[in-house]
Symmetry: C2
Subunit: 455 residues, 2 copies
């Protein structure tokens, strides 16, 4: 419970940017997943790092949980408030502080979205490549160690973040690193906060790597008689270090769902969607090489999409995979799995999972960032059918068990939140205790997004 | 002081792999820097993770400092024993546990050297690109977050390490991550241990990314009338995302020293040494593009070294920069600086530093990993001249101050050890206190390489 004294202090600090309005509170207690909402007691809209620091100091004094909130696009209950407390909304901290063309980095407040950043970068011939699909804030993406379709080429938020400004449990403001590209000066607090989901501090600003817009971008689609051949195409492409910008795997069910939803006519077979970035000649060479590999493995229909409109249409359809899955069963919701395995095990993991799926009778098209070994099943669930929900949970348990047995992880990019805590011991063993020690050291009062990440 | 009871336990565990022999102890108290030795009290040669765990448990029981030792190639006193204690030599843990061709990773014990790993990888058409110059162990490289000439293309140990096995302060063994390429499952203990210099745990095994040997590797050398033009060539190359594998900057003094030492005849002017990796056509395109940039900026003598022997000879000369500098003043030693700045500030930082240098009368050729904004001055110092040593320390203070003012770091790749502790507060401010909290949490007894990293 937020005590009255704390409420008063929040109001004195923020005026009407402190809210207990039911609609605002309700909106801050849910994300884009099918998880039931769990609203905070109040919401604070911060507009500066100093305000964030002051809010956290008030929370510390009164032992009020503080839950950072960006765009609410997470999928594992990161913004839920199981222990009550304050949702700290950073979306109004949306200034692009600096763009350093020569250094290829940008300094942004936590509430800046990828779309807004990319609009500003485009004027200078630059872009920020990491693209999780939704329209998240950079602070949220850093907090969940997000990635998406382009990680195979440009890395994840782990690689993209050069430095963070963060507010610690006692209101102290730290900057985790300088803007130099590399450093060996002490503990990597940047990477410690990336993926910590607000449980070690509130990220208020990030310095991220950006890239020059490639001279040429070409898309291609190729389908295969068997899923195994599609995965082998991915493995050989990666082994030959062909720098594909995107290499996405879709199973027949996903292609079918996308065809229906977006009015496309892709062959309903296991499919790779590719994108190549570079100079015109480099892109042509890369595409030719991947085309040869695919052809050797029985791939056909190597369809090109060199013009921007066609490429956009294809990738937009891919980005709407979630909605395409939703549309398969009206009135239902989607639960997305997120395991990631070493690429050598990808075909085996996917095939065993599809067999498992077939035996359960669940509807779940598959889409994967195959170059990273990361794939999602979009499990379509009837919210009014508790039995189905239970079967899905049991299926997810088996899926994660399978991925862990293959030296994989329970989440490639969505994060732990509330949803994946139950797998942390199985995945990390004794290391969970080391994580707990770090948590106690940096959040001795336990007010920083409590209940998340650690079981 | 190691108490007699602890000595007995070490002997019971390790037999003659526990040593207090003066020559062995002496050898473990120095690195490749000019720093005076500071030997441990004893040395333990471990051959397995279980032995490391047992050694650390004995150290914990008796409050004996434990100092991990690999190849002794570090430069900032990382293996020195200012608080006495035990040097834990991991060089006999030199098994290559697994090479996963399809996943492009290798699992190695901490004592494996880059040279040994690369010999084994070459049989399979693979290589490990990170190359700090000396012949370090992978455990040591992970501990100091090492990089070197290829970081501009392949990243540093921060990016190369997928997972670590480490022994914590109480002998518990943890594995920091699975072998999946990416994960959002919890705190990034991998990156926390990378660069922690053994102060949070002893790294016993590492899973590192490896790469396919490129089809073509081509070297080139280009010299410039002015250093500024050389740096501008680097900036434009990086901005155009031309994936150079190496782009090294040498000043006139360095070229002169290398010419003398290696019998070469490079023009004594600011010089870039480049290397390109890729397919034959990609490499040709990259080289042509950089050649055009260099020509526009007044570069000349774009000398090619397409055949392996010529390329090796050039890079060997570059790798021996340290010895070339040493040879400038017989009987002297070399102190290497290691600042790294945003690349937009590199020319300014280098020019101001060379001006400063000129006014001090010190001998110090410059070589830099220009693509990262990281450069080294090889300060040649007479060990019998305390005044010169003092002038060098004062110069280093000014150099670091200059780099920090440009949002740079006091060490790009050598690490903190004992040598850079005095700059940590200036570089990190309040964040040092967060680092201390992490240190206390993961090393409550203060036995893990005490006195290093944190001031």
């Amino acid at each position: 419970m937020i005590p009255d004294a704390a409420r008063q202090e929040f109001e004195d600090l923020l005026g009407d940017r402190f809210s207990i309005s039911p609609s605002i509170v309700e909106q801050h207690g849910r994300d884009e997943s099918s998880r039931p909402p769990c609203p905070p007691e109040a919401v604070a809209f911060a507009t500066s790092v100093d305000e964030v620091a002051e809010v956290v100091r008030i929370c510390a004094r009164h032992r009020v949980p503080v839950i950072p909130y960006g765009a609410g696009t997470s999928l594992e209950g990161h913004v839920h408030a199981p222990h009550g407390g304050l949702s700290l909304d950073l979306s109004r901290m949306d200034r692009i502080v600096a763009i350093h063309d020569e250094d290829l980095d940008a300094v942004v407040e936590a509430g800046v979205t990828t779309a807004n950043l990319n609009r500003r970068l485009a004027d200078r011939g630059l872009f920020f490549p990491i693209d999780p699909g939704a329209e998240p804030t950079l602070g949220g993406m850093a907090s969940t160690r997000a990635s998406g379709t382009t990680a195979v080429r440009y890395g994840t938020m782990r690689e993209a973040v050069l430095s963070l400004t963060a507010v610690l449990h006692d209101g102290r403001v730290i900057r985790t690193a300088r803007r130099a590209r590399k450093s060996s000066a002490g503990y990597d607090l940047t990477r410690l906060l990336v993926g910590a989901e607000g449980t070690l501090g509130v990220i208020t600003e990030a310095t991220v790597r950006v890239h020059g817009l490639p001279e040429a971008m070409v898309g291609a689609v190729v389908s295969f008689p068997e899923l195994e051949a599609a995965v082998q195409t991915v493995i050989r492409t990666i082994q030959l270090a062909i720098p594909v910008a995107r290499i996405e795997l879709l199973d027949e069910a996903m292609v079918d769902a996308i065809n229906r939803h977006a009015g496309l006519d892709q062959a309903v077979r296991p499919t790779l969607m590719l994108e190549f970035h570079g100079t015109a000649s480099a892109v042509a060479e890369q595409a030719r090489e991947v085309g040869e590999i695919a052809a050797e493995l029985g791939g056909s229909d190597f369809r090109w999409a060199a013009d921007a409109a066609e490429r956009e249409r294809l990738w937009e359809a891919r980005h709407h995979a979630y909605f395409a899955a939703l549309a398969l069963r009206p009135g239902c919701r989607v639960v997305s799995s997120d395991v990631c395995v070493p690429i050598s095990r990808l075909a085996e993991c996917v095939l065993a999972t599809k067999e498992d799926l077939a035996s359960t009778g669940l509807t779940a098209p598959l889409v994967g960032h195959a170059g990273d070994g990361n794939f999602h099943l979009l499990l379509v669930v009837d919210p009014d059918d508790p039995d189905e929900r239970e079967r899905i949970e049991a299926f997810l348990d088996r899926l994660v068990g399978r991925a862990l047995a293959m030296d994989g992880t329970c989440t490639g990019e969505h994060g732990v939140g509330l949803g994946k805590r139950r797998f942390m011991e199985a995945e990390h063993g004794e290391a969970v205790e080391a994580m707990r020690a770090v948590k106690r050291a940096l959040d001795p009062l336990g007010i920083m997004n409590p209940g998340k990440v650690l079981p």
